[in-house]
């Protein structure tokens, strides 16, 4: 009986073992299938490449690829947009493996997709850019691009597609008109405007003070309005964080909470999605966002964004940017500071480096490609010779928006002060602790900056 049972079961067991092994092998090898798809020789005009990034939006990415394929039809580009919050978690192991993306986004500074973290996986793009634009290529692109994407050893780790700048404030003119109010130009006007909005039960200005990067933007803007350049010098370690300009900036920052400019409970709020959604839904009149908000000036961009903010039957409003108010009365020009929004890097483990370099170089240096970038109004194009063709862009209200957009782009193109590009990961965290301590009322400006100074030395 026992012998019969075993002899009858053995073939089944053997089959089960084969199936189980097959399943196991299949599961374990599942990750490696993309490399098979990439198999083949390396050519500058032919191949299949994968591109990973947190930006641009998938639709914009497809536009870039479609335009690229008109020139290079034999290079298939597959773009995978990874959520901003997940990008580092995804790209780190991907680059450590041999089957990572051929092209990947990196950004200046120590934040998402940090050049400091991933430059070791990127090839030097200087030769291909020199070939595309000539040896004087640096004079043809916005200086802020290569500045933030070049390593300390001089390697151009990624090629900027476009830049973004912060320091400006965006307003909802419809809300200002509704309550017959004028956008503020000074600290006292800002306080008065916010009191007027509060009296009507509306929110004046929202800041996601739980979001370190945006707190840095606000503090940087205040510091620049007192004395331009001090913040950047402090980041570089050339000025102490306890410098009187920075103490004053931190004091003004703190008073923005106390005087009712920044909403109560801001430390528990994130700039994305909380503040962004409130502004797009018409719940708050002002936010501090950068040039990436230009994309919501277009009718299509604004409608999609307002809808994404949870508004039914979304009706776009003509948002415009205003200069950062002169909060200390120093009379300095309104601050702007920026970096390459992102750069495209070529993975040094890619089996299709030449095809990847063709794509990256085309998007970063080709005039037609850069025109697509400029017209999307997400980034200010990397090539200085290209600017948006507003006749081809449908704005929500051209009469209100076109001149302010042109002024913003014009002033941004002259800026060389980095936004987050020089802020390393550890310094970013130390600044975040100092700023949120003051915002939450746990430390005085001087005490927080003294702690920051000692942390930045370590």
């Amino acid at each position: 009986m026992f012998a019969i049972r075993t002899s009858r079961r053995r073939p089944v067991s053997a089959a089960a073992a084969v199936i189980a092994l097959g399943l196991t092998a299949g599961l374990l090898s599942g990750c490696s299938s993309p490399s098979d798809a990439n198999a083949g020789g390396d050519s500058a005009t032919k191949g299949s490449i994968n591109w990973w990034g947190w930006t641009p939006e998938i639709g914009v990415g497809k536009q870039y690829i479609a335009a690229f394929n008109k020139v290079y039809p034999n290079i298939k580009v597959t773009y995978k947009q990874v959520a901003t919050a997940s990008y580092d978690a995804a790209i780190r192991p991907a680059l450590a493996s041999s089957v990572g993306p051929d092209v990947f986004n990196i950004a200046p500074g120590g934040g998402i997709g940090s050049i400091q973290a991933y430059q070791g996986s990127a090839v030097d793009l200087t030769p291909v850019v020199s070939k595309a634009l000539g040896s004087n290529w640096k004079s043809k692109v916005a200086a802020i691009g290569p500045a933030g994407l070049t390593t300390t050893s001089g390697k151009l780790a990624a090629l900027s597609v476009g830049s973004t700048f912060a320091g400006s404030v965006w307003i909802n003119p419809t809300m200002f008109a509704k309550y017959n109010l004028t956008p503020p130009k000074t600290f006292s006007e800002w306080v008065s405007v916010c009191k007027a909005f509060a009296a009507k039960g509306a929110t004046c200005f929202e800041q996601g003070a739980g979001d370190n990067g945006f707190n840095q933007d606000l503090l940087h803007a205040i510091a620049d309005s007192i004395k331009p350049g001090v913040w950047t010098k402090a980041v570089a370690g050339k000025v102490k964080w306890t410098d009187p300009t920075l103490v004053k900036a931190m004091t003004v920052f703190k008073s923005m909470f106390g005087d009712g400019i920044i909403q109560k409970g801001a430390v528990g709020v994130q700039q994305y999605p909380d503040v962004n959604n409130d502004f797009l839904a018409g719940k708050t009149a002002m936010v501090m966002m950068g040039t990436w908000y230009m994309q919501y000036s277009t009718k299509a961009g604004a409608t999609a964004a307002v809808s994404a903010a949870g508004v039914a039957n979304a009706k776009p409003f003509p948002m415009v940017s205003i200069p950062f108010p002169d909060v200390t009365g120093a009379g300095n020009p309104a601050p702007l500071f920026g970096d390459a929004d992102y750069g495209l890097a070529v993975n040094n483990k890619s089996k299709h480096q030449k095809a990847a370099e063709t794509f990256v170089t085309w998007l970063g240096t080709n005039e037609a490609a850069q025109q697509v970038v400029a017209n999307s109004l997400n980034d200010i194009s990397a090539l200085t010779s290209v600017s948006p063709k507003f006749d081809a862009i449908t704005l929500v209200d051209s009469s209100q928006q076109r001149s302010t957009l042109q002024a913003l782009i014009s002033s941004a193109s002259k800026i060389s002060e980095p936004r987050l590009g020089d802020v390393g990961t550890a310094l970013g965290q130390a600044i975040g602790v100092a700023v949120s301590s003051v915002a939450a009322g746990n430390a005085t400006p001087t005490a927080a900056l003294t702690t920051l100074q000692s942390a930045s030395k370590g």
Partner: protein, 304 residues
Amino acid sequence: MSSTKGRSAARRRSFLRPAGYAWIFPTLIFCVGLLYYSVGYTGYISTLDWNGSAPNPTSVGSANYARAFTDPVFWLAIQHTVISFVVTFTISTVLGFVFAALLHSRPFFGGVYKVVLFVPVVLAPAIMAPVFRQIFANGGQFNWLLTHIGLGGLAQPWLAQSGTALGVILAITIWGGTGVTFILYFAAMGQIDPELLEAAELDGAGNIRRLVSIIWPNVRGTTVALATLSAIGALKTFDIPYLVTTGGPNFATEFLGTLIYRTSIPLGAVGYGAALSILLLVIALIMAIVMNAGRAKREGRADA
């Protein structure tokens, strides 16, 4: 008797037949190949100064462990874990025990109450996090409620203050976990011999006395199991603080899970993050050993 012995021996042999290995092979591969290999690899990474993608990590020996012991945020995370365990276990136990006792008294709509109590358990934290962020925002529904019941003086930005954010996180954890506590106590109370309760009633014991002197000692096994689950839950805490407060403000809601993630991913200190993970593993093992030893001691006393 000998026939029974023979059958069981044959059964034992049949489990050891080579065919059995074929069935457990995939699990063996996953458990040994992934879990234990991953633990070993994490141990190795914990001795490196590595950002997770650089081709040339530097060996730093035990420096990452030394760094952890001098890192105030690590000790803050430990402190929050202990507070979380004590507070959530105590309150969930009291609530779950009381609800279970009340529902054993067969109230009207008892089935509805059971569903209401258990629903939070099946709602994913990722879905509920934005809801709680809205409820406890400065202009949120909790402050609205306080204002409308005459307690407007207590209204405050709950998630924006170091002193209140942890309390909110613990409240959400208790809200999400009490359903399990209730169900386990409800089942355990159903196992108590009704004659015991009737005898106590005949002896003049009131409701409270029966709860304290009869029911509570008889569900001790459940309480011990819940303590273990709560301790494991506290060590694993990640989703609620990460989604509601991202560990802030100023590390006020930082737990070991959020610290490990923040260190390893956004800050890119993968070596240090691995050292923190190993420390978490060691703490979990010590806790498991202590709890097992305690249980063995109690069982030993009970047998004697």
